[in-house]
């Protein structure tokens, strides 16, 4: 008897997978890039940003949550799906305040990198201009929810890795927002430490370590020389994460505490 091979097709090309892997995990491990924002190799799949939406055997679904199965036919890099991703990115851009040229995360930001990747040229929709106060109460970490994309990576990192539950997603609909678990609601009154995984995992510039902003100049950062689609090894967790917290140490590696803890996380994951 022939065993059914653990293999499926993405855009016509074969991808081998380990049982238990999701489509996204298997694709990244095989060097196939599927755009994604809320998924991270260290944390349980979430399926909220929907950028990784693919067509599986004719039906839409999130590549980060659907288990890989033998013989699946997955469409991902198609004009229709990329156009849909562009609209989703535009939605994220107009929902918050994203001022890439002046943001200290610029070049290390996944949202920005994906917008370049998907050739998003304008935000297209009218901006919502939400009122989101900045929380600078913590001595080492800045919380600027103007750039939050509700991916909940900080929620998962704090709960599942740090064991601290510093962040929660509260509210609903357009009133959704990240809240801090402290009696005053301020980050400075929480038990977050700059060495926590949650302090460095933010894919955009909503959670930033203080006083390291432009250590590496814009132009020489993580996504500046190499597009995100060419960094699948790092995205799959196969190679150590050099982008760390956006502190700017960038591809040169080392420098901030975040990189050290990220490496620990890699090993433990």
């Amino acid at each position: 008897m022939n065993e059914i091979a653990n293999r499926f097709n993405i855009d016509g090309g074969p991808v081998d997978f380990e049982p238990g892997q999701t489509i996204l995990q298997a694709a990244l491990a095989a060097g196939v890039f599927i755009p994604h924002l809320c998924a991270h190799p260290e944390f349980t799949p979430h399926g909220s940003c929907k950028l990784c939406t693919v067509t599986v055997n004719g039906r839409s679904g999130s590549a980060c949550t659907i288990a890989a199965m033998p013989g699946m036919d997955v469409q991902s890099d198609t004009p229709e799906l990329n156009s849909r991703r562009r609209v989703l990115l535009q939605m994220l851009f107009v929902e918050g305040h994203h001022f890439c040229p002046g943001c200290e995360k610029s070049g290390n930001c996944t949202l920005q990198a994906l917008a370049y990747e998907m050739e998003m040229l304008t935000p297209h929709f009218a901006h919502f201009f939400p009122d989101r106060p900045v929380d600078a109460s913590h001595p080492d970490v800045l919380l600027d929810l103007n750039r939050c994309v509700m991916c909940e990576l900080c929620v998962r990192a704090s709960r599942d890795f740090d064991g601290k539950n510093v962040f929660s997603l509260a509210g609903r609909g357009m009133a959704s927002k990240i809240v801090v678990n402290s009696p005053t609601g301020l980050l400075g009154d929480s038990d977050l430490a700059v060495t926590d995984r949650a302090a460095t995992i933010c894919p955009v510039g909503a959670i930033l370590p203080k006083r390291v902003g432009y250590k590496v100049p814009i132009g020489e950062r993580l996504y500046d020389p190499i597009p995100i689609s060419a960094q699948v090894g790092r995205l799959s967790g196969a190679t150590a994460e050099s982008g760390c917290c956006g502190c700017g140490s960038g591809a040169s590696g080392g420098g901030c505490g975040a990189t050290a803890s990220a490496t620990v996380a890699q090993k433990e994951a």
């Binding site: 399926g47 929907k50 989703l88 994220l92 609909g173 809240v179 678990n181």
Partner: protein, 606 residues
């Protein structure tokens, strides 16, 4: 942060103790905290978090998620007027205006003396006797200008709600056509004894023969669901199974479950007990939507009576080893909790956000255990199958849609109320029976459902043709279908849980576009945008709320295009704001008002 007074501390301590300080009761605890303190202040959140051993962020997240919870004072009398399209058709917006004028308030504003606020809420399920409102979660039906005047007087005099005229709170059944279910008398325990004599497998076998499909809208085969839960192993040291009755009837225009809970609660609870017996569960939950809190007391008494009759409790019906009891959880204003995994999250004391599926609740539901979630009406149907057998049941209705279906009929009809028909009934038949007045459209299955035009009135209510959760809203010739669709887009933007990008942002973009068209600034550009957004949202949203959120737009654009077109400007694009008006301040500052200080808006004016 204000500290809690001695009296309030005592009240809070009694509430958390009543729920044995279990974190799964967080929503229930907060509901009672709000009853006691009129809102949920930060100090109360901190107290509850510490007493239940959950992060304060979770308490804050839950408080902010549910529409009926407030973290700041919203007045001792919190008035919420139902804002479904049927309430609007009955003149609700004029009543809102009237009430705000009488109380000298703006919408959502709290009066200076802290006594009252007036806001809007999604459909309260009283479409056959609207316009309706909730005052501190208590339902008042049949609002008129005079009744609003009286209510304003009562509020000003700060008369306790218990002393308001009792007929304000009267909710009628309005059963217009009764068939198998609505005409059935309940003989306590009869169906349950029939089920126990069949045995669990035998009961599931009869269910399979009946081909009963869920009445909540999705229409999943009930026997398959029960069997899967029965076969699923429990997990961990506290392995068990659960039965959940989904009484979160939030779909606009649906009110059949309300009537079943009010007058057929025996059927509902016995159906749950049969489900518990068949799948081997020991506990059941009835998840009652917050809008139906008025039913809670009667339902609790009903449960107490069932325990006395040994139809709940230990060795139910004398069957050794069959221990089963039911408790009621009350929701707090979140439509998305009608989605079964969101409902389970809410039962666990969390914000009601739909989970990733698979795994499905039948294997990993409440607290990770196998769980069956059934609609109120589905559980009532189980009694017929237990008593008369599955084969006989399958004889009624159509091949894929057996038995009868209850429709909640409202809108432009002479006789709104409940109509029970065998599946397969034509839309035209229902319209004739309810006395529809010059109908041009019927919205079937609520805001998430289908909008049918006159050409489609020959179609049938059945899973094969027009599936429905039970909402049937009729629009007469004078109604504007654009306004119907716009009302629904606001509903979805308000009810989106906010978890996924397309639904969180997309539903708001869509409702903004509809407002722009309504304001007379729409062009073909907006029509194209609506179409494009509908495709993106439907193709990528996380749950049914998002995927269905643009159905009404797609249907009405296709079938009632003139309702849109008459509003459109004949230009390619027009901004949402008035360019010339935006310059008014500049003109004022510069003291100019000549022709060159004005901007013409729109291409045709150049």
């Amino acid at each position: 942060m204000s500290d809690l007074s001695e009296a309030n501390l005592g009240a809070l301590s009694a509430i958390v103790d009543k729920y044995r300080r279990q974190p799964t009761y967080l929503v229930q605890v907060l509901r009672e905290v709000q009853d006691a303190l009129d809102h949920i202040p930060p100090a109360a959140m901190a107290y509850v978090a510490s007493a239940l051993g959950v992060p304060i962020g979770q308490v804050e997240a839950v408080t902010a998620f549910y529409a009926f919870f407030h973290d700041r004072p919203m007045g001792r009398y919190r008035v919420l007027i139902s804002d479904n399209i049927t309430d609007r058709m009955l003149g609700s917006m004029a009543l809102v205006e009237h009430m705000l004028n009488r109380l000298k308030l703006k919408l959502g504003e709290v009066s200076a003396d802290g006594v009252v606020s007036v806001g809007l809420t999604s459909c309260t399920g009283m479409c056959d006797q609207g316009p309706a409102m909730l005052v501190n979660n208590r339902t008042i039906t049949r609002l008129t200008p005079r009744r609003i005047d009286e209510i304003c007087e009562l509020i000003r005099a700060q008369v306790p709600l218990d002393d308001w005229p009792s007929f304000y709170f009267k909710v009628d059944d309005n059963i217009r056509r009764a068939d198998m279910l609505l005409a059935a008398q309940w003989s306590p325990g009869e169906a349950l004894r029939a089920a126990t004599s069949l045995g669990p497998q035998g009961m599931i076998h009869e269910l399979r023969l009946s081909n009963l499909r869920g009445r909540g809208g999705a229409g999943f085969t009930t026997a398959v669901k029960w069997e899967a839960a029965r076969n699923a192993p429990g997990h961990g040291p506290n392995a068990t199974r659960y039965v959940v009755c989904n009484a979160d009837e939030g779909e606009p225009g649906t009110f059949k479950d309300r009537v079943l809970l009010q007058s057929y609660a025996g059927h509902v609870f016995e159906g749950m007990t049969i489900a518990g017996y068949a799948i081997g569960a020991s506990r059941g939950f009835l998840y009652l939507r917050g809008e139906y809190t008025y039913l809670l007391q009667a339902l609790e008494k009903h449960l107490a009576d069932l325990r006395k009759m040994n139809l709940l409790g230990r060795s139910v019906c004398g069957v050794e080893g069959f221990d089963f009891d039911i408790e009621i959880h009350v929701g707090a204003g979140a439509y998305v909790c009608g989605e079964e995994t969101a409902l389970i999250e809410s039962l666990e004391g969390k914000p009601g956000r739909p989970r990733i599926r698979p795994p499905f609740p039948v294997t990993h539901g409440y607290l990770g255990q196998p769980t069956v979630v059934n609609n109120v009406e589905t559980l009532c149907k189980v009694l017929e199958i237990a008593t008369h057998g599955g084969a006989r049941y399958a004889g009624l209705g159509t091949k894929q849609s057996t038995g009868t279906k209850i429709l909640s009929v409202s809108g432009d009809v002479d006789r709104p109320g409940l109509y029970e028909y065998p599946f397969g009934v034509r839309i035209a038949q229902v319209l004739e029976d309810c006395g529809a007045r010059h109908p041009q459209a019927v919205q079937v299955s609520g805001a998430a459902g289908m909008c049918l035009s006159e050409r489609e009135f020959g179609r049938r209510i059945a899973f094969e043709d027009v599936p429905t959760a039970g909402s049937f809203m009729v629009f007469g010739a004078q109604r504007d279908l654009f306004e119907v669709a716009r009302n629904f887009t606001h509903f979805f933007a308000h009810e989106s849980c906010g978890f996924c990008t397309p639904c969180r942002v997309g539903t708001t973009l869509v409702s903004n576009l509809m407002d722009k068209i309504a304001a007379g600034h729409g062009t073909q550009y907006e029509m194209n945008e609506l179409n494009r957004l509908a495709g993106v949202i439907k193709g990528s949203a996380h749950c049914g709320l998002g995927t269905a959120s643009c159905n009404a737009i797609v249907d009405t654009v296709q079938k009632f295009r003139p309702a849109y077109e008459k509003r459109l400007k004949a230009v390619d694009f027009e901004p949402a704001f008035d360019l010339d008006a935006a310059l008014a301040k500049a003109r004022e500052v510069t003291g100019r008002d000549d022709a060159d200080a004005h901007l013409a808006q729109g291409m045709e004016q150049h």
